[in-house]
Amino acid sequence: MLAAAAALTACGGDQRVSSNQLGYDTGVAPGTEGLSLLEGLALYVLAPGAILLLVAALVWLPGVLRGTSYRPGRAWSAPPLWFGGPPDPTAAVEAATPGSMARGGASGSW
């Protein structure tokens, strides 16, 4: 945004404020000298580019912060994580005997 603001003032209108309240003196063609190449680039390339980048960042950042790194169909190599699980999961699973307990639940795939 700073770059955009700087670019706009660089091409800006401060020079001609002295004319009068309505604009330019009669008979004076505004901006007869035109834009230099640098000013043109700044106004038509840098400024829109900066605004585009800002919008892109606003769209992109929330997803990155939330960390949606998973894409369906890709392999998953991260080691298993057990939230609220037994203190020693490996030993517990080794020793586990499902028995005849009537368990409920549901399954799904995606």
């Binding site: 517990a92 009537a102 549901a106």
Partner: protein, 148 residues
């Protein structure tokens, strides 16, 4: 696979909070396992999940277990017999739907947190049945009745 895959610290934090909230606010013993299971055949997935549920030991009667296998694209909810009264299979099925919907969009953390919320709402608010002093009378009552 490049480094940095897996659950982000932020996602892990959110899942931990959801598990904790279930315990504190609803007295529901929820645990969530995220990772692929070592299986030769995906048909054994349910059996493997029941084994994991059994690994919770004494807790398993009242415990609800989510197993999320992102690589295998399978999700399973296992409820113990006591937990099943508070979280019927119909509710589990809805929670699974919430998860698969979110997972399809690549949102692992969000799906798990949403499913935990649904299960917590269904279970209602109740103190954790963690007290051995509370569990003891129930047991002795059964013993007395069986003596008659």
């Amino acid at each position: 696979m490049e480094a940095g895959e897996g659950l982000s610290p932020r996602q892990q934090e959110r899942i931990e909070q959801a598990v904790e909230r279930c315990k504190v606010e609803n007295g529901l013993d929820l645990s969530v396992l995220v990772g692929d299971l070592e299986l030769e055949d995906l048909g054994q997935f349910r059996a493997a999940c029941e084994r994991l549920h059994a690994a919770l030991g004494e807790r398993s009667r009242t415990a609800v277990l989510f197993v999320v296998a992102p690589g295998q694209r399978r999700v399973e909810i296992v409820t113990g017999p006591e937990a099943r009264r508070r979280v019927p299979d119909r509710v589990s099925a809805l929670a699974v739907l919430a998860m698969t919907g979110a997972f399809r969009e690549g949102d692992l953390g969000g799906g798990i947190v949403e499913a935990a919320k649904q299960i917590a709402v269904a279970a209602g608010r109740r103190a954790l049945p963690a007290a051995p002093d509370k569990a003891e009378p129930a047991k002795t009552e059964v013993a007395v009745r069986s003596g008659h």
